[in-house]
């Protein structure tokens, strides 16, 4: 995807975010107008800044959209998004990054806090390094044990803080 195609795609996402912020801001204004807040004037409402920001974002991302659409054409822009999606599935770098992120997400969202720190950290490190083929398996296990040991020593013993 070239930079104009990227601009086209991201501007669509940004327009959606802008509309969400704008509608959310209006919702805040309407909610704050009711008791117990009873702030009926927009200029002092907590919804003021979100509305301004949403409107500004809408204008700027529309400019970005129009600029990129002018250069690549509307149809080509949408075709590029579909084409990029198909290409991304086949791209080995993107696949590595996505699977790497999934391993990180499993560690950060699911494992952490459920098991002792040393166990979660060790599982994560071994899993991701094995996936990335960072080294031989026994070396990965040794490195992971050393790293987790060093972190526990530094933080739990050295700084006296409890790890997740």
């Amino acid at each position: 995807m070239d930079s104009k195609q990227k601009d086209f795609t991201i501007s669509l996402v940004l327009i959606a975010v802008a509309l969400w912020a704008l509608i959310g801001g209006i919702g805040i204004y309407l909610k704050a107008a009711r008791p117990p807040y009873s702030i009926t004037r927009l200029s002092i409402s907590p919804g003021l800044l979100p509305i301004i920001l949403g409107a500004l974002l809408l204008v700027l991302s529309s400019v970005l959209f129009i600029k990129s659409a002018r250069e690549i054409g509307l149809k080509n822009g949408f075709l590029a998004i579909v084409g990029w999606g198909k290409g991304a599935v086949k791209n080995s770098d993107i696949r590595s990054m996505v699977i790497g992120m999934l391993i990180m997400a499993v560690y950060g969202f699911l494992l952490i806090g459920k098991l002792p720190y040393w166990a979660t950290a060790l599982i994560y490190l071994v899993a991701i390094m094995v996936y990335l083929r960072a080294s031989k398996f026994w070396k990965i296990v040794v490195i992971s044990c050393a790293v987790v040991g060093a972190i526990i020593l530094l933080f739990q013993v050295g700084f006296n803080v409890s790890l997740p």
Partner: protein, 496 residues
């Protein structure tokens, strides 16, 4: 009184624990700065969480030490690998790497390290002299001025960091501002975009956002299949020759320090710009500009003095206005707040010794950086041989620990992850992360001051156009919009 504060700060630095912390933090900074992908911002953000339980002064020493170390450490990989360890050292690679290729790698590193030390030392003079002046000026600021200052900061940062496309910088800034409105608002304690979550109501913590924005994308990018670049061996170096060379180019050192401090003061514009501008100034004033890019020692000296002088420059607005001059300084601001300091116009009244402490700690950090870099250069360059696929998963572990330790809350780990994905999307689509971060930091200042100003004026925007400092900011903001959107150019063409 100033000398008493300076004396106390010197005594604090020389406490055995603090010397040890200084050594460790500067050393860690050098290593983190040297490793491509680990930026100064990330280094400070990680350390901020870890210093939570430190005594305040020790924490300050650690944070400033890692800042100085990481900005300076970037030159080693720039010279030996032709890959800048931090964006700040990008200009150093232009002449540093050709020097290393012709067998002067050691000399180039020693020259860069010494220039870095002088850059930081000279910038400290500006911290000591300009901060009290700016603080006095900031006392004249009221709600409208603070609101416009924060908008100006985000806009200029967006314009200067977006590589010719200010629109993207401004969009990134607005996105950051939108993130800052999440949680209870500071005026009416109304919950905005919180979706009933108690964690969201307390707002988005800065440190996880910073770790995610700057650290996560680098970690994920390291998962690509790339071959390790060739490492040029380190040659011997002579310290006396190194100082003689620096003295020979003293005009360039002073000029680069001035440029670095000036760039540092501009909100959000960081050390990389300082390095590039100083390099460009030396090249354009040189009698032999063609030699730049082929291994000219002046290129290395200028770039490194300029980027390190930015450190002091970026700290000046943090202390006097609570507006960060660069992305690492933004993290530093968050760290100051976490340790109970309130930078801004009242700083000289509430904590008069703080400016002197920061100056002395910066001074000590730059000396320690020089000493460590010279002693351990041979050992540390071996670190550059570590496989990224081993190093980066370990860095993610530290990111998780750093985010968690702020509040001992798993929610912050999730926030770090989510903002990591946002950071990845921003960098993939060429949106700068610095204005986004500045938006998150300055958002509460912009929001509360805008609404306070409007409440005091009974909902009228008119006072904004009646106050001289406000009008000054409005003119600059308008000028920036006209210049960046090409309207000024069109007007000039129309006149011709």
């Amino acid at each position: 009184m100033a000398f008493t504060y300076l004396g106390q700060a010197v005594a604090t630095v020389f406490a055995p624990l603090n010397i040890l912390v200084l050594m460790l933090s500067v050393g860690s900074g050098l290593v983190m700065g040297m490793l491509p992908g680990l930026s100064a911002t990330m280094a400070i953000a990680l350390l901020t969480g870890l210093t939570y339980n430190f005594p305040t002064q020790t924490a300050l020493i650690a944070l400033l030490g890692i800042y100085v170390g990481s900005i300076s450490g970037g030159c080693q990989s720039a010279i030996l690998l032709n890959i800048p360890g931090t964006p700040a050292s990008a200009a150093t690679a232009l002449d540093g790497h050709p020097m290393a290729r012709r067998g002067e790698g050691g000399f180039a590193i020693s020259l860069a390290t010494t220039a870095s030390m002088f850059g930081t030392l000279l910038s400290v003079i500006f911290v000591l002299t300009l901060t009290p002046f700016l603080t006095k000026l900031a006392l004249k600021f009221a709600s409208w001025e603070f609101f416009l200052l924060s908008i100006f900061g985000i806009m200029i940062c967006g314009a200067l960091t977006a590589q010719g496309n200010a629109l993207k910088g401004w969009i990134a800034g607005i996105l950051g501002l939108l993130v800052s409105v999440i949680g209870l608002d500071t005026v009416d304690t109304f919950a905005r975009f919180s979706f009933g979550s108690v964690n969201m109501m307390s707002g988005i913590q800065l440190i996880p956002v910073m770790i995610g924005l700057f650290g996560f994308p680098e970690i994920v990018r390291s998962f690509k299949k790339e071959e390790n670049p060739e490492l040029v061996p380190l040659s011997k170096f002579d310290i006396r020759k190194n100082f003689r060379t620096i003295l020979k180019h003293w005009v360039a050192v002073i000029r680069s320090a001035f440029i670095g401090v000036g760039v540092g003061i501009i909100p959000g514009v960081g050390e990389d710009t300082g390095g590039w501008l100083s390099y460009w100034a030396s090249k354009s004033t040189s009698k032999d500009p063609e030699s730049f890019g082929t291994g000219n020692e002046l290129g290395v000296i200028s770039a490194e003095t300029g980027n390190n002088a930015c450190i002091g420059g970026a700290i000046i607005p943090v202390l006097s206005l609570a507006v960060p001059g660069s992305a690492p300084a933004a993290v530093l601001l968050a760290a100051f707040l976490m340790h109970g300091y309130r930078p801004g116009p009242l700083l000289m009244t509430e904590s008069p010794s703080f400016v002197y402490n920061v100056s002395v700690y910066l001074f000590a950090s730059s000396f320690m950086m020089w000493l460590l870099a010279m002693i351990i250069a041979r050992g540390t360059v071996r670190i550059l041989r570590i496989e990224k696929k081993i190093l980066m998963p370990v860095v993610f572990l530290l990111c998780v620990v750093g985010s968690y330790l702020i509040n001992y809350n798993f929610f912050d780990v999730k926030v770090m992850f989510v903002f990591g994905l946002i950071g990845l999307a921003l960098s993939a689509t060429n949106f700068p992360a610095a204005p986004f971060l500045l938006g998150v930091i300055l958002g509460p200042m912009a929001d509360s001051n805008l609404r306070r100003g409007l409440r005091l004026s009974d909902g009228s925007f008119l006072p904004m156009f009646k106050r001289p400092i406000s009008v000054f900011f409005l003119i600059i903001i308008l000028g920036m919009i006209l210049a960046q959107t090409g309207v000024l150019k069109k007007l000039k063409r129309g006149k011709k």
